[in-house]
């Protein structure tokens, strides 16, 4: 039995999905579980996860972070992806269209708070993507997740999606990579990080930029991943590369080692879930769903 089999069995057997064992069921771990369980043919468990997301969808279409906290709403985009995957596997009998429609309407209704451009900050503060929390600025990961959700739901050409793609490219560092969403601050170039770079490249799959930042980001990511890369960074990093069919040949070994290592820490289930998604390579639903809708 491989680490993937073990993880999928555990996910399928779970009553609910949370950030750590016994904690309040949470939206992000549940959406990720739905995605990987569905791909691995655990239909009943995947449906259970998708229905949990339905149960906790707010009236306005958004979802909060967990069963107790109906705000902030940044995981809404993850639920959309889970439902899109479920419907894509439903052989022409989609069950979550109404939930997806309400969630994407909510996504369209909110945006990050823009600001006047200033020499203190290197990025274009007027571009609007999505914030972690309503009323605050647009940041890298929530914007990337909303781009993925909108592409997966067939709205890849929506003006909000296109502006958000421009934002993501603008927030890539000149020599490649991304962090939480700043480039230059007070004249200082900041450092990139693996995880947000991977998430950004997932959202930017199939996109082009003028100055090669996407290609540089792929190169930076490829050079930064390795046997000591921790689980979430490794998973998103590999997914970001797989989105352009650039999976390192050592990926399977790194994933297996990361799976062993991450189990030593509290709250490993969501990280293991990510590793199983990354192990799918280009067949990961976070890659196939947006691609099908945009190109298919």
């Amino acid at each position: 039995m491989t680490w993937i089999d073990t993880t999928i069995d555990e996910l399928a057997a779970a009553e609910a999905w949370s950030y750590r064992a016994g904690a309040t069921p949470a939206t992000e771990p549940t959406a990720l579980a739905a995605l990987t369980l569905g791909v691995h043919g655990r239909t009943e468990a995947a449906e259970r996860a998708s229905r949990w997301l339905v149960e906790y969808q707010n009236v306005d279409g958004s979802l909060g972070i967990n069963a107790d906290q109906d705000a902030p709403h940044w995981p809404t985009s993850l639920a959309v992806l889970a439902w899109c995957a479920a419907d894509a596997a439903a052989n022409g009998s989609p069950r979550y269209s109404e939930n997806i429609a309400r969630a994407t309407r909510w996504i369209d209704s909110v945006g990050g708070k823009p600001a006047e451009r200033t020499a203190d900050l290197g990025h274009d503060t007027t571009l609007i993507g999505w914030p972690w929390v309503e009323g605050t600025h647009s940041w890298m990961e929530p914007t990337a997740w909303c781009v993925l959700a909108l592409k997966a739901s067939g709205q890849g050409e929506h003006p909000r999606t296109r502006e958000a793609v421009r934002l993501l490219i603008d927030r890539l560092l000149p020599e490649g990579g991304a962090n939480y969403g700043n480039t230059w601050v007070l004249g200082q170039l900041l450092r990139p990080h693996l995880e947000p770079t991977g998430v950004a490249l997932l959202a930017l799959a199939g996109e082009e930029d003028q100055d090669g930042r996407i290609a540089k980001s792929r190169a930076w990511l490829a050079s930064g991943l390795g046997p000591t890369t921790t689980a979430a960074s490794l998973a998103y990093g590999l997914m970001g590369l797989a989105a352009s069919d650039e999976v390192p040949r050592q990926a399977d070994r790194w994933l297996a080692d990361a799976a062993v290592q991450t189990r030593t820490l509290v709250g490993y289930q969501p990280r293991l879930t990510l590793l199983t998604l990354a192990a799918l390579g280009a067949e990961c639903p976070l890659i196939t769903l947006p691609r099908q809708k945009v190109h298919g």
């Binding site: 705000a71 914030p131 200082q188 990080h193 979430a232 820490l265």
Partner: protein, 345 residues
């Protein structure tokens, strides 16, 4: 269970975890710390400074001596929960001066464990969602394993809500993670660093890392929009059970708190009043604490800034002071306590 998000959508709207993990954030600590809470901090406070400190030196003894010298009473500690909160905002092995050194964390843990407390280390890294990476890059992860210390990922724990006791920002309340809510004492364990927006970051600002990213974002932009100085004060006022142990052995100057340069100082600074500790750190760094926005707001409410109100124990701050480089930016220029004179010839 469908709910109307509009009823609760505003960040900061009062919400309580149904698991009722709120045990109150100050009641137990008030007795433990041996001082009364909000509004009573104008009285004299003690700050301990130890020099010639090294990461491979007897830090446990230094920290124990410092706590006792500043009036910390360990007698009530057996069975109590102590949360050590280091700074791991955005760790990278390329810049160890950014994060609290694991040796200091381990030494503090040993002090409190020997006094009978149950010790947990917790942090909500502000710029990275991969906390496992933060533990690896800061080298804290391997140290925690060596010290058999549990770690609480404060970014993703269940949360409880408390009224904003500071009322300096418009936030009506603050969400704290379970490990913070349940701790009897929170030990702010910052690295002494410059900060490119507010001048310096030490023990008060370090408590930004007690708030969960899942509620405030990465970065915790809700706090930025509500005002950095104001929310620093609000967090500390709402969490009146914090003491401070500062890693000032190798510090950061210049473009802190992330991109600055290492500045070796060889100091460990300890106190039961974080405001007094930070005021002392500011003086050591060559900054006037009364000109630092959040310290000015905290003055008299959370603790004293005035030299006459801070009893120095161990080394006098004047003997260890060494001005830190700060960015030459308009919003930082007035912070320095001694500005160079205008060239006239």
């Amino acid at each position: 269970m469908k709910r109307d998000a509009s009823q609760h959508a505003a960040e900061g709207a009062p919400q309580l975890d149904r698991r009722a993990l709120l045990a109150g954030t100050g009641a137990a600590a008030a007795g433990l710390l041996g001082y009364t809470l909000l509004g009573q901090h104008a009285a004299e406070q003690s700050v301990f400074i130890a020099r010639h400190q090294r990461y491979d030196g007897p830090l446990e003894q230094t920290i124990r001596d410092g706590l006792l010298a500043t009036g910390f009473d360990p007698a009530p500690l057996p069975g109590k929960r102590v949360l050590l909160k280091p700074n791991m905002v955005e760790p990278t092995r390329a810049s160890p001066q950014m994060t609290t050194n694991p040796a200091v964390v381990l030494a503090a843990a040993e002090v409190f464990r020997r006094w009978g407390a149950t010790v947990t280390v917790g942090e909500a890294p502000g710029h990275v969602r991969d906390t496992e990476m933060a533990l690896y890059e800061s080298r804290l992860g391997e140290a925690l394993g060596d010290g058999k210390l549990p770690f609480a990922d404060l970014n993703y724990e269940e949360v409880g809500w408390v009224v904003n006791a500071g009322r300096r920002s418009p936030l009506p309340g603050l969400f704290f993670p379970r490990a913070v809510m349940e701790a009897d004492i929170v030990v702010s364990m910052p690295k002494m660093k410059t900060h490119h927006w507010v001048g310096l970051t030490v023990s008060l600002k370090n408590l930004y890392g007690t708030l969960p990213g899942c509620k405030y974002g990465w970065p915790k932009n809700v706090l930025h929009h509500a005002g950095i100085p104001q929310t620093v004060v609000d967090i500390n006022a709402s969490l009146p059970k914090a003491i401070a142990i500062v890693d000032a052995i190798v510090c950061m100057e210049g473009d802190g708190p992330i991109m600055g340069s290492a500045k070796p100082m060889g100091l460990v600074i300890v106190g039961t009043n974080p405001t007094a500790v930070d005021a002392t750190c500011a003086r050591i760094m060559g900054l006037d604490p009364s000109r630092v926005s959040y310290l000015s707001l905290a003055d008299g409410m959370l603790g004293p800034l005035a030299e006459r109100s801070i009893r120095q124990v161990g080394e006098p701050w004047q003997d260890v002071a060494s001005p830190f480089e700060i960015l030459d930016r308009p919003h930082l220029r007035d912070l320095q306590s001694k500005r160079p004179g205008v060239l006239t010839s």
